[in-house]
């Protein structure tokens, strides 16, 4: 399969799935925006209305964190199950297994484009102007994407080997939701050493903080940290692709007999 054919397939599968998904719901494509907004609303009610955050800009702060985190959590959760979910096709044709997680991720990418647009509108509405630092958005999004792909490829492999892993992956995403500074500020921790530790250990916390630095503070994220994270994620993607390629027929057997 040529690279071009591979990417055409990924794109076609993603678009088909988006179309089928939209047809299933009464509100169709509106859910692309509606679902993330509802998530934000839930968190807003809990952390602003009930618990009362001390930030004046909590809504924007929350949206920068939550809207980018949902992209990662939903993509990884769904892509991890994508090979097993396609066992009908896998039992019929010998295809590269990475097609399935990649198509799921592509689907999430299309949705996320509209979510980013929504985020920009809210930022503009709240008086945040576009600054030169917004150019940093591109590398941050690319690194975020690579992290999603790397995690998804390994997730898809593991879930195929034993479906039990899908439980652990969902749980892992909830763990990340609480530990990545989505509704709390990693820079506001009482112990600055802990801030350093969280940003160093948890790549998702770093990425979310980077979005806020760029969009809210108008400053650049730590370029070395971002570069290293990008390189690490790219290596993970390469290893994941190689693994799925090597294990292709083993995974077919696992998916069929699952």
């Amino acid at each position: 399969m040529t690279l071009r054919h591979y990417f055409t397939l990924v794109d076609t599968m993603a678009r088909m799935s988006l179309k089928a998904d939209a047809a299933r719901f009464f509100f169709g494509y509106l859910w692309w925006i509606l679902e993330p907004l509802l998530y934000v609303a839930v968190f807003y009610v809990v952390f602003e209305v009930i618990l009362g955050s001390r930030r004046g800009d909590f809504l924007v702060f929350l949206m920068c964190g939550k809207l980018t985190f949902i992209w990662l959590s939903k993509s990884v959760n769904q892509a991890s199950r994508s090979i097993v979910a396609s066992k009908g096709l896998i039992g019929k044709i010998d295809v590269p297994k990475s097609l399935f997680p990649m198509a799921t991720i592509q689907e999430g990418l299309y949705k996320q484009a509209s979510v980013f647009l929504l985020l920009f509108v809210v930022l503009w509405w709240q008086g945040y102007g576009v600054s030169a630092s917004w150019a940093w958005l591109l590398p941050v999004v690319v690194v975020n994407y690579l992290v999603i792909v790397g995690l998804s490829l390994f997730g898809a492999f593991l879930v195929c080997v034993a479906f039990d892993f899908s439980m652990l992956i969902s749980l892992g995403m909830i763990f990340l939701l609480f530990t990545s500074g989505i509704f709390w500020d990693v820079r506001d921790l009482p112990d600055p050493a802990m801030t350093e530790t969280v940003l160093a250990v948890n790549p998702v916390a770093f990425i979310i903080d980077a979005y806020r630095q760029v969009l809210m503070e108008g400053t650049a994220p730590d370029p070395v940290h971002l570069g290293l994270l990008g390189a690490g994620a790219a290596a993970l993607v390469a290893a994941g692709l190689l693994l799925l390629r090597r294990a292709s027929r083993f995974l077919a057997l696992k998916a069929i007999t699952a």
């Binding site: 088909m16 047809a23 096709l89 019929k92 044709i93």
Partner: protein, 237 residues
């Protein structure tokens, strides 16, 4: 058959199984596993234009054999060779579709996964729609289809996208009589041509009518292989 012809056929070997064995780790209950041997030292050669019928009882290993031929699974022992570049499609009942996608999208996806470009795949869609007789259901999710409709879609997609090797698992025994007849007519048309077919069937009459060679699989081993009449004779006794 003259020796020349046999030689020419030999040059166009499409598929070959050499000493293939396969087994599954069957899962019985939590933590408990057993080894289920499906195929045991099976060797077969299939040439271009040949139609091979595979006979055998349920659980004899016929579906696994087709999956090995399609390259979906790797054998635990032995080798499976397929002519490089030959496209191959496996038709099975109930499987092979993304249930949430429409018949049209599934047909497009199947054709593209078999190597057709988007444009080539789109070019066959009208033919597939027409041959499958699905009508407006062609635009509806496959999850809403009956078994007969699914098999019609699968058969039409494979036959219209012109794959080199067609592996058919029991699919001709469903659908209504009129469609079966039409499918059979088209199969006979193709069978005289370049199409290489491996057909798994319970129905001896079907194998007798469509195939030029046959193999009988029993308990994972080939019990008889050769001209249809000889194999059917052995299978009956």
């Amino acid at each position: 058959m003259s020796e020349d012809l046999a030689g020419a056929r030999d040059a166009e070997l499409m598929l070959e199984l050499r000493g293939v064995s396969h087994s599954y780790h069957a899962r019985r209950a939590n933590f408990e596993r057993g080894l289920h041997r499906v195929l045991d030292d099976v060797s077969l050669r299939i040439h271009r234009g040949e139609t091979l019928g595979i006979l055998g009882r349920n659980g004899a290993g016929k579906t696994t054999l087709l999956r090995l031929l399609a390259g979906v699974l790797a054998p635990r022992a032995g080798t499976v060779w397929r002519r490089p570049g030959a496209s191959c499609s496996l038709l099975t009942l109930g499987l092979g579709f993304q249930p949430h996608l429409s018949g049209r999208d599934n047909a497009l996806l199947s054709a593209m996964l078999q190597g057709a470009t988007r444009r080539q795949a789109q070019a066959c869609l009208d033919e597939i729609r027409e041959f499958s007789e699905l009508g407006p259901s062609f635009e509806e999710p496959v999850a809403t289809y009956s078994a007969g409709m699914r098999s019609r879609l699968g058969f039409s997609t494979a036959i219209m996208t012109q794959v080199d090797i067609l592996l058919i698992d029991e699919i001709l025994s469903v659908g209504d009589a009129a469609f079966r007849k039409k499918a059979r007519r088209l199969m006979v048309e193709r069978l005289t041509g370049e199409q290489t077919v491996v057909l798994v069937s319970h129905q001896e009459s079907q194998v007798a009518a469509l195939c030029d060679t046959a193999a009988w699989i029993d308990a994972g081993r080939i019990r008889a292989h050769g001209a249809v009449d000889d194999v059917l004779g052995a299978y009956d006794t």
